[in-house]
Amino acid sequence: MTSATDIKTMLPLTATILEVFDETPDIKTFRIKPDDEQEWEKFQNRKSGQVAELSVFGTGESVISITSPPTQPDYLEFTIKRTGVVTDMIHTFIAGDKIGIRGPYGNGFPVDDWKGKNLVFVAGGFALAPARSVLNYALDKRDDYGHIDLFYGARTPGDLCFKWEYDRWKNEKDMFFDVTVDCGDDAWTGKVGVVPALVKDANPSPENTIAIICGPPIMIKFTLQELNAMGFQPEQIVTTLEGKMQCCVGLCGRCNVGSKFICKDGPVFTLAELNAINGDF
C-alpha cells in the first residue's frame, strides 16, 4: 500500500467512512479517518479552515472543507451537500465504505493571531461548515479566546445544519448563539428573519473582535453593511472563498481570484485582502 512517506502530487490515499448521518434532506455529515497512520497525523496537524480533496474512484474528486476542529482526535468530519456527480456518489456511501483522501490544503484560519480576541461568527446554510471548524476549535481552547457570538440562519427549519450541536453551543459559557430561518413552518417557534437582522439586533462591539462570515453572497453583502455600520474594519472581517478546483495544489489554474489561488493562498481571506484583489468571484 502506498504510504504518506512517498506522497506524490495529486495522489490520494484511502480512508474509511466511520459514520454517516443526515443534516437536511440533501446534506449529510461524514466521519472519515485516513487509513494510513502518517496521513492521519498530517491531518491532525492541520489548521482550522483547511480543506481536503475527497476521491470517489471512477467519478472524480471534490474539494470539501473539514468541518471538525483539529482538536477532534478520532475522525475528520465533512458536511456535504448533494450538488454534482461526485457528491451524488458520496451520498450513496455508508459506514465502512472506502473513499480517497488527500490534503490538507489551503491556509486555514490564523487562530494563533486571534488569541485573546472576541469572535463573532455569522453563517448561513451549510456554509456554517468551515466556520464550525474554528468555532469548535475556539470552544475546545476556551481560555484562549474572549466572548463568542454565533449568528446562524437558513432558508427553512429543515435546512438548518448541525442541530445536534445547538445544545452545546447554547450552554457554553461566555457564548451567545442565535438562530433564525427565512421562512418558518408550523413546528418552528424560533426567530423568523434574515441573518444580518440577527447581527443588527445583537450589535456586537468591534473592539478587539474578529468577525468570521461564511454564507451565500447575498447574506455576506448585507452582513457586511451591518458590520460596517458597527465600526468593523476590513482587517477584522474574515471569510472563506470557494470555486471550481481540480488539483488543489495551485497548478491547474482555475480557482484564482486575481493572482491568488483559493486552494493554495486561500480559502481564508480577510475583507481587506479581498478588497485589494481584482478578480472573478
Binding site: T2, G84, L251, C252, G253
Partner: protein, 377 residues
Amino acid sequence: MVTKILPAGNIQSWIDKLVASYGVYAPVEVEGASSFKQIKAGQAPAFDARTDLSPKGIIFKQVEKILSYKKDENGIAIEYAPEEETKTVIFGLRPCDARSFTLTDKPFLDPVMPENKYAERRKHTALVTMACNKACNTCFCTSVGGAPDEKVGDVWMMNLDGRYIVEALTEAGEELLKTAGSLSDATVDDEAAAKRIGETVAASMEKLEVPSAKALDNLFTDEAFWQNLTAKCLSCGACTFVCPTCYCFDVKDDGTVKSGDRYRGWDSCMFFQYNRAAGGHNPREFHWKRMRQRMLHKFSYFPEKYGDIDCVGCGRCIKSCPVSYDLRDFIQSALRATAGMELGFAEELPTEDQVEPLACDVKPSDEIVKTGVGSDD
C-alpha cells in the same frame, strides 16, 4: 563556456549518435504540419522554421496517467503511475520554446510542492536550442523578454551557412556535445557573425512595449475594454493548446467504480466548463471574462508572482486563431488603455488611411501588390 564549430555536414551524424542513447525529439513535418516527434537514426529533422506545435507535450504530456485504482473485498488498491525515466533530448527547439520550459518550471518545480511527473521528466530531458536565422511575421519574442539568439537550454547552436556554432550551457549540455565528434574552436569572426545574425533577426521584429503587471491589473475593471477585445473570439481554445506556456489541466477518471485510471489532461481557460462549479456557479461565464483571465494570467498574475511574463512571443496563438485574434493587438491596446489614451477600438470601421497600421498588420509584399494576387477584387 566556450563556443565551438560543428563542421558542415556533421549534424546528422551527431543526431544519429544521440538517437543511439537518448529518446530524441526533433521537428518533423507530417501532412503539412510540423511538430516535435521522436526520430529514428538517419531521419533528418525539418529545421527551417518554428514548428506549428510546441514541444511542451514532451515534458508536460497532453494526457498523463496519475494512478490506477482497483476495488475488491479488501478495499481500494491505489497504484501510482510511475514516472518515466527515459533519457530524452529535445533537439532543435527554438529559444522561445526552450524558454517556455524555464517559465513552466516556476510553478511546477515549486520548492515546497513540486509536481512529480513534470519534475521527473524535466530532470531527464536535455534541450538543444537552435537559435533563429529568421523571424516569422508572427514572432515577437523580443517584446516579452526573449531573443532570437537567447542562450537558453543545455546546448545552444546557430546555423552559420551549414556549419553550426555550438556552446554547452550546462553540464548535461557538455555530455551531449561529447558525442558530436570533432569540434573546432569558434573564431572571433564566427562569434561576430552569430552576433550579427541575432541582431538582424531581432531588428526584423517590432519590439512592443508591454504594460506593467500592476497597470494591467488595474485594467481588470474596464469591462468595455475586455468586451471589445474579445468580441470576435469563439472560445475554441486553439490558442491555449498551441501555447508553449499554457499549463492549465483537468483531472478525469476513466473507468468504473470497480477499476480504472485517473488522468490529468490539458485544459483551456477559454472553455465555458473550465470554471463552472458543481451547482452551476461560474465566475467566468462570459468569454470576455475568460479572455481577461488568460491575458492577465500571462501578463499580470504570473509576472507578479514569478517576475517573468508567461508568454515567450512564439506567435503560435496568432497563427492558429480561426478569427485572427492577435496577441500583439492586446499588448498595444492595453498599453494605450493603461496610459489613459484613446482605445484602438472603433465603433465604425475606419477607412485604411484613417488608422495607423499596427505592428502586426502584415504588409503585402511588393510582388503581391504588383500581380494583384490576394487582393479582394
